[in-house]
Symmetry: C2
Subunit: 199 residues, 2 copies
Amino acid sequence: MPDTKITAKRGRPRAFDRDEALAKAQLLFHAKGYDALSVADLTQALGINPPSFYAAFKSKLELYDEVLRRYEKTNGLDVDTALAPGTPLPDGVAKLLRYAADAYARGGPCGCMVIEGARGTADPQAGQKACARMEASRAYIREKVVVLDAKNAEICSDYIMMSFAGLSASARNGMSTERLRVMAAIAADGFSSYLEKDV
Amino acid sequence: MPDTKITAKRGRPRAFDRDEALAKAQLLFHAKGYDALSVADLTQALGINPPSFYAAFKSKLELYDEVLRRYEKTNGLDVDTALAPGTPLPDGVAKLLRYAADAYARGGPCGCMVIEGARGTADPQAGQKACARMEASRAYIREKVVVLDAKNAEICSDYIMMSFAGLSASARNGMSTERLRVMAAIAADGFSSYLEKDV
DNA sequence: TTATTTTTGTATCAGGCACTACACAATCCT
DNA sequence: AGGATTGTGTAGTGCCTGATACAAAAATAA
């Protein structure tokens, strides 16, 4: 009976750690963006040659897509906690924006990789990949908001995404986490006021 | 006595209208961004050949800088009106964000050329040019805010710039002017609440 | 006319980009 | 051992980028 081991290894073994390389690539893409990071930069940083790179990751674009999904797992905001059922919507928005403020300047002034990649990426395919991930996030947030306040779900998710973009941009401009938190709180207060008028 | 005419023309006259070309280049840079717009794209759109392009504009980078300044003149927000002396700061912020909402989706989903160019531009020199213009705008706004409320000038200008970035990103994502205005009003309300707590 | 200056079109340039052909090396399976 | 399979290093592919060399053309100045 054949061994059902996941890493069915036949042939010459890979000389580098693929996951480690993926983590490094994530940091590089996050810091420099898709266009400004060349395959030559990557191979040099990873200490490998182009054929090894393409054997492991297929192409720059596929690596980017894989990195985007990894980023969501490692750096994704805890939407479920922020918008847990039963949470008053204003509190949920405040929490979520606070999470973003905490995250976007962590480990350097890089903002959100998905949001930054969704715009300003010259390569159309890469931009589309990032846009797709951003839309998925928006949809997930909207889904959670609907449970809390179906009537305001659209405007709420729009406002959250806009605030994310503003916070991400500010973070990339060097704003401190402390100051980002203040910005997030102010923005959240605005949505709170909006709901009060409405109800 | 020599003619002091500004257009002292000697030699073969230019076969195209430089200002017109500048306006076209502005639209193109605004729509596609610095990196995604090649010199070949430009020369083709302008109906000229590379040597004519370089004779008129020196380089892609210098044209971009010229376009950025032209953009500020043609599409710049009326900060002086929004933040005129005597205006209550919350009203000024609301006006300014409203202006941005009105402007960012005008003529297509392009957002603010300066803000979008300041990030996400792979070419470091071009990114620096856009960043410099954005910093100049921030400084100008802060200067006007100081007159209205010196104590809150820093946090206010930070919040305005963050909101601009959020609005610009949303506009580029296709948000309508109508919806952008709602977003701007909500964001402005947040700053209003912040000031009320503080005073 | 003749000289000078500037623009124009043709045909490139060198350099960086993502990516690969090829032969060899290193492992597993029989 | 021998065959199959997979990764690696050297070297290079074609393509697109921003930018030019060059000579002819079109204007002014003397």
